[in-house]
Structure formats: C-alpha cells, structure tokens
Symmetry: C2
Subunit: 142 residues, 2 copies
C-alpha cells in the first residue's frame, strides 16, 4: 500500500532530486498535523526536534510537496500561506471566519449533487471544485 513517503521518494527520484533526512522529517512533521497548517507551526515543531534545520529548507520542501500533489497551498486573508494535506483525505469544503481566520471543514452531499447538475447543463466534465464560505464564526459574533 502506497503511502506519502513512497510517493514523495518516487517523485524525487523521477525529478533526479534527492531523498534527505530533512525532507523526511519535514514530511513527518507535516503529517502529524490535521487540517490547515501554517509555516510557523511547522517551524516550531521542527525546531523542537532538530534546531539546526533552516527555515529555507522548510519552504523549499513544502513547495516540492505541492509539486508532487501531496499538499495543497492556500493563501488566506493575512497573506500568510497555509498548507493542507490532500492524500488519503476525504474532499471537503471550508467555512472561514474572516475575523479570526478559524477554518472549519464541512461536506454537503446535496451541494455536490447540484454541482454535477450544473456541469451537465453546461456540458462540463467536473474534475474538482473549491468552495469557501466566508463569514463570522460563533466566537467572534459574541
């Protein structure tokens, strides 16, 4: 059974790039998070494990993970990037609080169904979709 490490290794090999301890560790730390992660969180956790690892390597490796399809990059309100795992994860949409930037994942089968309907109507073959609902979350409304 293929896992993220094998996929990353294969990708690197195909591109004539190298499998290094740093890249292994970064993928490891990344996978230990759920949902959306910011560089800052990854960096903190990495520093705890190996303070010698530089931030540039972190950015570089995240970019490779995006290139090989294991990770998706988003850029939200404050201009800071967030990274999200895309492999072995059910598809979901996002509720985003525009005040505190909390993100909640959800899924609604009927919305998916109507999306397909619309695509048929216009002769589209649907590959993927992105839906973000922007608003103010329960906490921020208090």
């Amino acid at each position: 059974m293929l896992n993220e490490f094998d996929i990353f290794k294969d990708f690197l090999h195909q591109q004539k790039l190298r499998w290094t301890p740093q890249r292994k560790m970064i993928l490891d730390v990344f996978l230990s998070f759920d949902g959306h992660v910011q560089i800052e969180s990854l960096h903190e956790k990495m520093q705890a494990q190996d303070p010698s690892l530089g931030i540039a390597t972190l950015y570089r490796t995240l970019k490779l993970l995006v290139d090989c399809g294991l990770v998706e990059a988003h850029s939200f309100q404050n201009g800071r990037k967030t990274y999200e795992r895309t492999f072995h994860v059910r598809h979901h949409d996002h509720l985003i609080c525009t005040r505190c930037e909390t993100t909640i994942e959800f899924e609604h089968p009927l919305i998916e169904k109507y999306q397909l309907e619309i695509c048929e109507q216009y002769g589209f073959s649907l590959k993927s979709h992105k839906m973000e609902l922007l608003g103010i979350c329960r906490n921020c409304r208090k």
Copy 2:
C-alpha cells in the same frame, strides 16, 4: 436612491472621518473597473488622473471601503490582494475550464440555500462565498 458615494460619505461622517477629494477619486476609479481589481491597476489609472496621489492613500482608502462594506478584499496565490465591488452587483459562481480557461458564471438557488444551512449549523454569519467548479468544457471535450 442611495449610491456608493453617499454610503461612503455617511460612513466617514459616522466615524468622524473626512470626505476628501482623494477619497472621492479613489472610489471613482475603483467603480470604473469590473470584477476583481489589483492595487497596481488602480494605481496606474490614478496616476494618469493625478500623479500626485500617493500609494499609501490608496491602500488606506481601500481599507476604509472594505470597512464600510462596499468592497471585499481577497488574497490570492501570489500573495497580492485583489479588491471586489460588493454593492449593486449580483453574486455569481464560476465554472472554469482547466484546459482553455473559459469561465462561465452561474447561480443555483438551492446551493445558496444549503450554504446557509451549513452556516447555521456551525453558528456562522455568512458574508460571502466563493465557489469554483473546475473541469473540461464542452468544446475541449470534443
């Protein structure tokens, strides 16, 4: 009939802020664009009308327009912000062909309804949403 200028003026007055020629001109230039605008485009067009107007004022005014609800700010992949008019504009979603980049606008009342349902469920107050369906269009499938 209330227009954008009146709304902005009222907002400024309420906040004890001032109505200035620069703010008028920026709103004017902003409204002359359709869809998403970047600071760069606004700045160019403004320079043509009045080269003395500074970029800081542009940023400051855009922020005020967002605060008073006339404009919505997004931040896309490249980290650059885009601004979108939100008043007197029908909302719409997008079907995007990933091959030829054709974009079709659509609207589906039931999807909107279920979005509201989801927000209620999580205690969100919905302000806006973005939905993009990515696929291959009729032409490209031939």
